[in-house]
Symmetry: C2
Subunit: 297 residues, 2 copies
């Protein structure tokens, strides 16, 4: 097996290549003066099983084009199988038409990936697992959240509750809570019958005096998490921690979350990160990816 | 017919819609804070022939994603036929593997466009016409260069020669020269047998005292044109004009070309342009596109 690494690869490619004794090759890449993306595969892939590692953040569209060009070139040059590991796949939140005339962007992306020649796809915590049906080949989703939840608990949480910041994340919270053997709940919207004002609060559990682990798949601008955290704190929670698979942390998301009372954000190494942040704990998820890749091979 | 216009559409969509009495609808578009591309088609396309107009410069990859999302959404929403007019299609210069392991990028782009659901494709002066074979549907290439050449001649060229700045542009020069009933030639590389130095000059014609029209498909950084112009001037050419389909004019390309002695650049309106330039004459090529579109419908 050859492991090809593209500019968005977040580091897991090293342990993946090592685990399989595979050759790790960086795909050459540059941008032409006019903005066109260039890639080149500097190794012979003919007859080889090729695993391409690429995450699609930042610069989602450029990362996508690099990936599509690499996949098609591998197939063109005779690779016997093309496996794509996309720890963070962009466009997963546009998984339905919220308004008439919208695209189902994740469908387009996954179909194109198949058209380009990808045989198998491994992703980490995609926004909706059901979206993977759009990929024409075999698609596997790995969750990082159980691992992240365990890491948070190792640091000593007392009587913890796993909490989804909205209904969309409830399934994830349920899964993590089951593994951690804790209670779980989600933040529900309430409309005040008199004022019409919408507020959110945990649907059933009382968080007072307890440690809360907020679970989500993607932190983008951090608004959802920060809001949930502030409310939980105001309801008397002792400590608030966050476990999120993909911490994009757009603009001042990190400061926003920390200032809302979150003690630490546990996140997976699904994207490349420019700099370390004191309260962002990055957990390597290669150990989750490697056994799944073994099953495919 | 509905004409859908995307952010790269260079203006021809207006005359196209008018010529067919078609509804002209701008596709809604924005970029999410994290960088994801969003589009929405704010009209019902069910059962309709849809013509999408998009050029792929600047921001080639974003323009491509907008186009792919729009094409697939139109098909999903029941459009009876999807025609894509791409006046400037990016990646056309990567039309072969110049080195082992390179992609044939234009092949990937055209195949993906077909996979997304485009039935028919209209492009203007693609770098190599042969590349269109990669598009699975019907593909039509329109040339703007004859029109540009005629416009240049209208301004009074004396005893003109049409000149390709390199062998790659020779076919184009030949075609324009035939229409203009002029001589043509190309700039050939010569290696000095003693010094080994490579120089270029017109292969056969003597440009001394004559007006020269340099023909090319794409002006990117302007290096090729500026070099050709300087040499032709040094060989005694009276006037040097340029006809180029797509004037990307990266960095200081315009100044570079004008300072090399070029009197005027004639170019087609295949890309959106931020500002007017005194010696850049932009020619509307809707008149070339409309009859070709009529034949498809």
């Amino acid at each position: 097996m050859i492991v090809l690494t593209l500019p968005g690869a977040p580091g897991i490619e090293l342990s993946v290549a090592k685990a399989f004794g595979a050759k790790l090759v960086e795909v050459e890449h540059k941008t032409f003066p006019d903005g066109e993306t260039y890639i080149r595969i500097p190794t012979d892939v003919n007859g080889e099983v090729v695993t391409i590692v690429q995450s699609m953040f930042p610069n989602q569209d450029k990362r996508l084009v690099e990936l599509l060009l690499t996949v098609e070139t591998c197939k063109d040059l005779g690779a016997s199988k093309v496996i794509t590991i996309i720890p963070y796949i962009a466009y997963s939140r546009q998984d339905k038409r919220f308004r008439d005339g919208e695209p189902i962007s994740i469908k387009t992306i996954l179909k194109l990936l198949g058209s380009a020649g990808a045989d198998t796809l491994l992703v980490v915590d995609i926004h909706k697992s059901e979206s993977l049906q759009y990929f024409p080949g075999k698609a596997i989703e790995i969750t990082s959240l159980v691992l992240l939840g365990k890491k948070a608990c190792e640091k000593g949480m007392e009587n913890p509750i796993v909490l989804a910041p909205d209904l969309g994340a409830l399934k994830r919270a349920q899964r993590v809570a089951k593994e951690l053997k804790t209670e779980y709940d989600y933040m529900e919207k309430f409309r005040d019958r008199v004022t019409g004002e919408i507020t959110i609060k945990p649907k059933e559990v009382d968080v007072s005096g307890r440690d809360v682990l907020i679970i989500d798949d993607i932190i983008s601008t951090g608004g959802t998490i920060a809001k949930a955290s502030r409310i939980i704190k105001s309801l008397g929670a002792r400590r608030v921690l966050v476990a999120a698979a993909h911490s994009l942390l757009i603009n001042n998301a990190y400061e926003r979350i920390i200032s809302s009372g979150v003690e630490c954000i546990y996140t997976a190494n699904t994207i490349k990160r420019a700099k370390a942040l004191p309260k962002l704990e990055i957990i390597d998820i290669s150990s989750e990816i490697i056994p799944n890749l073994k099953q495919i091979l």
